[in-house]
Amino acid sequence: MPRIGVFVCHCGSNIAATVDCAGVAEATRGFPGVVHAADFKYLCAETGQNLIRDAIAEHRLNRVVVASCSPRMHEPTFRKAVAQAGLNPYLMEMANIREHCSWVHADRQVATAKATEIIRMVVAKVARNEPLTAKQVGLTKRLLVIGGGIAGIQAALDVANAGYQVTLVERTPTIGGKMAMLDKTFPTLDCSACILTPRMVELSQHPNIELRTYAEVLSVKGFVGNFEVEILQKARKVNHLTCTGCGTCWQKCPEKNVPSEFDVGMGRRTASYIPFPQAVPNKPVSDTANCRSVRHLAAKERGEKLMECRVCEKLCPTKSIDWEQKDEIIVDRFGAIIVANGYDTFDHSVYGEYGYGKYPDVITGLQLERLMNASGPTKGEVVRPSDGKHPHSVVFLACVGSRDDKVGRPYCSKICCMYTAKHALMLKEHDPNIQTYVFYLDIRAAGRGYEEFVRRVQEEYGSTYIRGRVSWIYPQDGKLIIKGEDTLLGRPVEVEADLVVLATGITAASGAVDLMQTIGISYDTYGFINEMHPKLRPVETNTDGVYLAGCASGPKDIPDSVSQASAAAVKVCGLFSQDYLTTDPMTSVVDQMKCVGCFLCEEVCPFRAVERETLRGGKVVARINESVCKGCGLCVAACRGEALNLKGFTDQQLLAQVTALLRA
């Protein structure tokens, strides 16, 4: 016979403000099987847990219902608490009367009645709970890092330094990410490359790290500790084992007019290329869309004529050019994954008032970084893209693709106020006679030394800050006219500029949603990863064994990305410090007496957890491999003979909840 104890939590005033907790506890005493009910201010506190443990002993309880917050919050806490009292942890169920009741209903009577009904349903369920035992499985102590920006680099180095094997997959030909494109970093004005490139080299030479650039993750199967990942290694047409990175091929490549991705279109590159001089690995790839030799070979196959090139092949001193190289798929096993896929900047061509991206002298902040950079396309000279002249007046626009519902980006991109201030300062350093104007909505400079930095730009560097959005930019006599409103003075303003720099905001990296779906983690409307808990589990995703770092979960600056990467690395090291993982015992189970061997379950199972077993009489029935089953219950709903059930969510438990609610 079930002897159920019900414990109603006040959660301070979070529940008690709208739910009469003592009254609810009193009402539950009449529910079938309930032999004890109590209410308490904070059940999750040590005293609250003691209250539950003592009651289990005193009233010989064999089932417990904790009516408090969401089980997604405190289920592990209370499972542990009842286990310490000698009860099987799976004989505890939570009734969510906070998130699903007290927080969303203001009427005390309505909320109290609803809380009572929620508990009635859970009491009916827990009466049908069975003790469950977790199983142990081994794990592969190897980490996969997706993304080679600063977050991915930091995470990979931290875990590799702890002694574990790491594979880093980066889709572009080099690691370094966006940070490698920056000239200086705010607010210290460190040279970005100077602090980043030593890390990149350290990573490429680390004995515990396997670096795979120009590669993408194709599929992820398995579960925490045992992921099976397919990685696509794109053909580079260069044998990286023999290539020394001497540079002959990219210096001699005749195709010199490809817009450089690394320079955000401000410069040109060759078809055989390294993205920038300090690239890691410092070996080229041949961009197959533009390489004349590759195009010649493709044309030949189609029976068309195109001039042969093969300059790099003829000149390569190590004979490393390999036209036969094909895309390759590598299958590997990992115990954990860190997703650090980074970000892209907002495409400002949707703004008609800024010229739909058609005015050459309206550029983005990232493009300005490349112009200011000594290794950039202009060797660090800031010039107008249209005529190559030095600008004397530069206007900055903040919040382009940030805090703007109109373009579907209501969030703040966090870094733009700071990088715009940095740009205004750097321009003045480049040319003291330059005049800078910044149109802004609010200055958001929260961070150590950030506010001081913005003040310095205004006071010492004489940048004019104008509060208001720009309504129109148009070209006139070789200059750009910027019309807007100064909302502090309440009057229209017009500024003439040689160059306009848009502080474009952060958006999810291209292909982010596809990647999240491939891995099976949840993401928000904008393509950023949802954390397991925004406050308390900020680097975990809702899939065990998959962690996140950097802008994958939303806008972040470099220090935040690096901290998150190290935090994710610690989580991985914690996981890898175990020799066995305990698996969730809430798996499907077959009643082989009822199974008729139709194997519909095998067909619907996404994880191939259904196996076939031949009984002694020759009958073939289903069996569930419990270490592979993830407990979704698809097979249970598909089974026509009711031979399958899902432990923890049995048909009986779920139907008991329906009945308890509606028959009351």
Partner: protein, 140 residues
């Protein structure tokens, strides 16, 4: 009077998206109609059509099944199975004499607290308009 009528609604919510979305509505203090009673299931694909039939048989006025958006299922494809079963279930409802407006399958992600509240409000209004449900059959 039907204006006084408060429908009884059972909601089967998948643990990973919609249940978390309902949690988020709570955390954000987004209030909504109190009629729904939530049953947590691992996946919308766990919902046996029998549960829906059983709910009506026991006197529910409406049943909601909420899962992850297509492509986002924590179990890869559970919500696709839910969608197919639901389509079949729809036809069965006719046979049972249950108005199709009394059931709803929707997608609510873990970040859509406000959407959860809106979907619940709309469905509650819809069922309130339909009035109390007649029990389809008394036993299976």
């Amino acid at each position: 009077m039907t204006s006084e009528f408060e429908p009884r609604i059972v909601g089967f919510l998948c643990n990973w998206c919609s249940y978390a979305g309902a949690d988020l509505a709570g955390t954000s203090r987004t209030s909504y109609a109190p009629n729904i009673r939530i049953i947590r299931v691992p996946c919308s694909g766990r919902v046996d059509p029998l549960f829906i039939a059983k709910a009506f048989q026991e006197g529910a006025d409406g049943v909601m099944v909420l899962g992850c958006h297509p492509g986002d299922c924590h179990y890869v494809e559970g919500n696709y199975h839910a969608r197919r079963r639901f389509a079949v279930m729809h036809r069965l409802l006719d046979y049972l004499g249950v108005d199709k407006g009394r059931v709803m399958l929707e997608w609510v992600s873990a970040s859509e607290g406000a959407r959860f509240a809106r979907v619940v409000n709309e469905f509650t209004d819809q069922v309130r308009q339909l009035g109390p449900a007649k029990r389809p059959v008394h036993s299976f």
